[in-house]
Assembly symmetry: C2
Homo-oligomer: 362 residues x 2
Amino acid sequence: MTHRPINFSAGPAILPQPVLEEASAAVSALPDLGLSILEISHRSPTFAAIIDDARARLTRLLAIPDTHDLLFLQGGARGQFAQIPTNFLGRDQQAGYVMTGVWSEYALTEAQRIGTARVVASGREDGYTSLPRLDTLDPSELAYIHTTSNNTIYGTQFQRLPDFGHTRHVCDMSSDILSRPVDVSRFSLIYAGAQKNCGPAGVTLVIVDKAWMREAPEGVPAIWRYQTQATKGSMYNTPPTFAIYVVGLVAKWIEEQVGGLAAMAERNRGKAQLVYDAIDNSKGFYVPNVGDPSHRSLMNVGFRTSGGDECDARFVSLAAEEGLSGLKGHRLSGGLRASIYNAMPRDGVETLVGFMERFRKT
Amino acid sequence: MTHRPINFSAGPAILPQPVLEEASAAVSALPDLGLSILEISHRSPTFAAIIDDARARLTRLLAIPDTHDLLFLQGGARGQFAQIPTNFLGRDQQAGYVMTGVWSEYALTEAQRIGTARVVASGREDGYTSLPRLDTLDPSELAYIHTTSNNTIYGTQFQRLPDFGHTRHVCDMSSDILSRPVDVSRFSLIYAGAQKNCGPAGVTLVIVDKAWMREAPEGVPAIWRYQTQATKGSMYNTPPTFAIYVVGLVAKWIEEQVGGLAAMAERNRGKAQLVYDAIDNSKGFYVPNVGDPSHRSLMNVGFRTSGGDECDARFVSLAAEEGLSGLKGHRLSGGLRASIYNAMPRDGVETLVGFMERFRKT
């Protein structure tokens, strides 16, 4: 393609170009084998090597300790919203949910269908444009606390992930996993739908404390028990083989081309800074969704023009004409949004910023 | 590839060559759009057209009536083993399971974790090499009866799908969906993991009676309630976009290249006949797993040589050298197995039969 658009979609989202090329070739035929990645058995030596490699690379990148297992599941973050309380919220227990957007709300509502869950902190009054204070939160007597690390719709992100001491911390990292180093040992469970920073839609990464996982009640249906998949190396049922393959390619790209998560984070900070600077230095022409820089997301930059909805719409359509796609804001927040995940190259962001400057001056 | 192997794998399994080529190109970039199928939003007009087309083609092919909904879900058949009783097996109800293999056993065991389910007919005593009689079965007072239409491990298949009158019939068609016409109106729920006859691993087709679906209790977690996905057009959460895209391509291939399910069934009967004839005319050299022709699967032909395990192993390795891959039997049944799903061309089967003749004579 000579005119490949620059993809600012919030997800399913941009993937690294070398990953797309290798995946495209593999859908035709895997080298040496001559069969498509889509048509090989998950029990074949070829796929065993693929899933082992993906697991090993993610384990190295995230420095997942021996105390935790990495699982490749199906069903997305929505599936985890139900699976977590099904495994970890007993009849006499309570879970605490930190509200930072509608996805936290969905997670809470689903947990409440299964057990007792309550809000322990919320940014709702603020339209979720800032993160709630957590320092006054009392985590004692909670089975776990659930947080969302990055909020795609509003453009907020915990720059420093909260620490709840000895209380178990469950974190939805769907939109910023692999964007920065994380101390996995501080979490009892991390989950992420792959389709933003990790790969295509259809596989969900779950990193779970082994000891905790074993505490889940026996009566839980086998397919929804984490322990079942852990025992079977994520192959209790036929896994989403192609999606796992692509996640492995993304992990390889981060390890070998980017140089790991510290380098990835540095790159992401630089990219986000470019967009936020373009907003903050626009003399009020661009208005950020999130004022406080310490609450701003490095993944999803939400903003609007001071010219109103019509001006925003013109921004989106002129940008699209110049090959910048996916800049319309989420229907809940309106305005504009640039999703600049891992795979967005710096020059893609520079092109956006150049367009923002020109648009402002016309 | 000049030497593409012929793929007799039981699943994930062979896909039509034109499907693989179109999918490979789309992973690089979709025509007109310039973005990969992996990186476009499930809310984009492009993907809306893809899922609508896949749904429309499957609805036409299977003649799905207005009384039923077609859903694209995640979690495989194993997920359905739990989701079905979660939705449809109330506290005071009983479900009946027809045992035709370990997959039926897994389905039963999972249902028993959720409610009351019992065996109503079983071929277990026979090592599942024949189908149990169903004419003496009393379906009354059962919430539903669960069957498995084709049994990949043993090589049995209901040539005529059973009819339980007014009792609700739930059928796992994972390994023979789209291989023949089916009267959908006779089923309350049909489900199928896509990775044998429909597409890649990672998407599960569910065809469900709308009225029944609405009866599921309110307390079921939203993600596991069929009604939730029906209301949202299978996009309650981010769907497995690529897998759905490939299923659509497979449906297009059946409609436009094969000529529909009656033609597909004719083709499948002819292919299976070739292999069964090679077995039955081998003067006892090849021994079929399933003796009664009316119980034999047209999808998975199980057999062994009369020369014992060593001879079987030699068959597998010599076949592989000639480009015939995946002929080893399942570990539970041993011996040999040729999976000849929809996408296996007749000349692939002819090559196999030619090899069988030559192997027999050496």
